[in-house]
Subunit: 320 residues, 3 copies
């Protein structure tokens, strides 16, 4: 229906994965391959080429055991823009309440004809379990607090597009590190591409053990602020916290919110990211969220492009 003459080029020789389970273990070359293809897809989207039917006949299933309208929609749009068919299989209404195992549920969907399974589950390792037990491709869309690789990739793509390169940049992940799969995926991806990573937040949410991942940690945003190139303001996930890990939201905002005052003390070209949905006034004040340093909405657009790239890459590797 539309022009599909997108100059995508061939499958990169470095790419042999039929699954994307995390950014841990990916080489710089592999991550760069994803980002390069994502940029081509983004160029097509932005120039109005909404349909790039490279995956016609392919069926992608969103197998979400946790709700996430946003991520699910982004994957669905990515799949459909590639011409793929999409299925949504959500836990709330599925047979899981009937006592079926996760593997059986997934094998059933595969038997219906799914080629790619995009999986979100609160248990770390669920996508890995499915990758071992299914023939179809598996993409991790968030496994508990473990990884959320496409979120990491879209953050990194946004930085690369604004800065040209990741190498040597200092990126601080601020906030709810303990509950954040986004943090882990960012760390692996950023380090692979040569960035320095700092995790920063209240001591109840940042443990010294993060140093084992090769990152710096701190409880003080103000201390590190002058040398940070990129701030990634993670959501305070109130809905995941049984007890609140700090005295009050106001206290948290006082110490960690990115506001006009902190912006004045930061590098003049500081880049501010935040995986949505944002709590305005908590992690970031409205003027900063909507200001020129913020790339929050670019992240969302890049999310669709990154997911198109990942879907295309994994679906293009033949099973053996």
């Amino acid at each position: 229906m539309t022009d599909n003459a997108v100059e995508l080029g061939p499958l990169p020789t470095c790419w042999r994965r039929r699954h994307l389970l995390g950014l841990e273990g990916l080489t710089a070359e592999e991550i760069t391959a994803i980002l390069d293809k994502a940029e081509i897809f983004k160029g097509a989207l932005v120039s109005g080429k909404r349909r790039v039917p490279l995956l016609t006949g392919v069926t992608s299933c969103n197998l979400f055991f946790e709700n996430s309208t946003r991520t699910r929609t982004s994957f669905s749009l990515a799949a459909r823009r590639l011409g793929a068919d999409t299925i949504d299989f959500s836990a709330a209404t599925s047979s899981l309440s009937k006592g079926e195992t996760v593997i059986d549920t997934a094998k059933n969907i595969e038997a219906m004809g799914a080629d790619v399974m995009v999986v979100r589950h609160r248990t770390p390792g669920t996508p890995h379990l499915l990758a071992q037990n299914l023939n179809c491709c598996v993409i991790n869309a968030g496994d508990g607090p473990h990884e959320h690789p496409t979120q990491g990739l879209l953050d990194i793509l946004t930085i690369r597009q604004r800065r040209g390169s990741l190498s040597g940049l200092t990126v601080a992940l601020v906030g709810d590190i303990a509950h954040s799969r986004t943090a882990r995926s960012n760390i692996w991806g950023l380090k692979a591409l040569g960035a320095n990573v700092i995790v920063c937040g209240p001591s109840t949410l940042v443990s010294p053990r993060w140093a084992e991942l090769g990152v710096e940690y701190t409880y003080s945003l103000d201390e590190i602020l002058p040398r940070v190139d990129v701030l990634n303001l993670l959501r305070i996930q109130f809905e995941r916290q049984a007890t609140r890990p700090f005295p009050s939201v106001r206290e948290y905002a006082h110490l960690y919110a990115m506001d006009r005052g902190r912006l004045a003390r930061a590098k003049s070209d500081i880049l501010i990211l935040a995986p949505g949905p944002i709590n305005r006034g908590v992690e970031v004040t409205p003027d900063v969220a909507d200001g020129p340093h913020s790339a929050i909405l670019e992240q969302v657009t890049n999310g669709v492009a990154v997911r198109m790239a990942v879907l295309w890459l994994v679906a293009s590797v033949s099973p053996n």
Copy 2:
């Protein structure tokens, strides 16, 4: 895939709106432009041309903060029949429960690539707020008790198709006027096209202040019945009423239900409309609902055609 040689003609010169937020303020010419295009689309649908791919590559998002399977499905079908992609983003499962603002949610969806946002929200003015803050087109699919313009348009199209013209007709809106966005949209549209409007219902649901909108009001259906050309029987929205505004459903039906007896005292060619879902035996008795004076199911078919017209019109106006 199918013949798309629908003789739609060019974008009417009078049409310059990228949003349809209400029928208030639309000129007769603009309303007529929508109805004319809707009739062409209806002709295509009825003759079996289910696909008129004029909006290929366009993405329409149903952003519904209130449930409405019916309206949502009608908009989805309209969009898909135009070849557009559709996204459903419902409040129940969305990030709104995570504290995000309505504008941020909508901007995120826009950043994913939505071109048209079809919005339902219980707060009057929400679509207007989004139209001011987004670049994409906004269509109001119901904002609290304020407006529901496509419902008004489909009612008016149904009258025009049965009667040829609206001019000089007397149209009575009966029932739950106070809670009805349909009433307001009908009033603006009907008056623009030259119809006389009467609002009629229990005094708890009809206020003298409706006269300020240039309509007649009455508490007695029987009094006005002999001179009415069209009756639009609004739903008693039990689910929106904290306290019941009349002693009993039986009492309401006794005074306002359109039944065989009232039909006998009405004009011989009276036309009966009712925006679904109908409460059989409350606003209308089954024999009348299913009889020749009723156009209830035509309204539903016209709903898809009207929404195709509105989608095509707003999406065809370039953003400056």
Copy 3:
């Protein structure tokens, strides 16, 4: 987009039904016609022809008053693989909570342009009621404990593909016969094709009155096991049972679970079916479910093929 040169052949002369409400009353010829077409569709699916656009322009609606992600997804995929448009209309979010009748809901969807209505409802006979009151095609996707014809057909197709023919085979339906629409549909279909049917389960779930349907009944799986060709292990539908009809799950499994021991005492080529979702360790042990006698996942694949066949057949009969 893809090669649609599937050698489907013409509409069989025996097929004149615009509805599939049950397998009761279908002739062997009609059932065979469905199975033959389903095999052709399965061949296309398996060989990678995911799109067979024979129903372009047709709209199929899943009208599900009970949740069933699995069956709904199978029907959706079947419809989309035929090029049809799909609508999901589920009870939880629909206008039914607003007091509308089932017929009015269905007529509304039909007025929006649905050509096929795939109906699930807990009340037996609901699809029949709709077939009498609508112009569109109706397919029963489960009406309470009554029938679930496409489940019966996919079971029978699976047996036919493994054994070549149904004639003379002894098929035992084991387990929760009382609550099983699958049992009833299997019985009608299997008997029409010349198989002998035994229903087997606890006396609380198997009544002597089943003999009236022309089947044998027994409370002992071990007694019949040596002469059974096919075992269809029905789910214990814990979610449908107010009180548990046997002392404990362990007791049930002891008497009825298909395990290694029973497999050793069965015919060497016994075929084991189970409509998912399975309760591992209850109706069947994992080693048997995943072993060579099991055709559980073939059933799922056949489900899509059977539904493509049924959709194509009913939609291809002109409404007089």
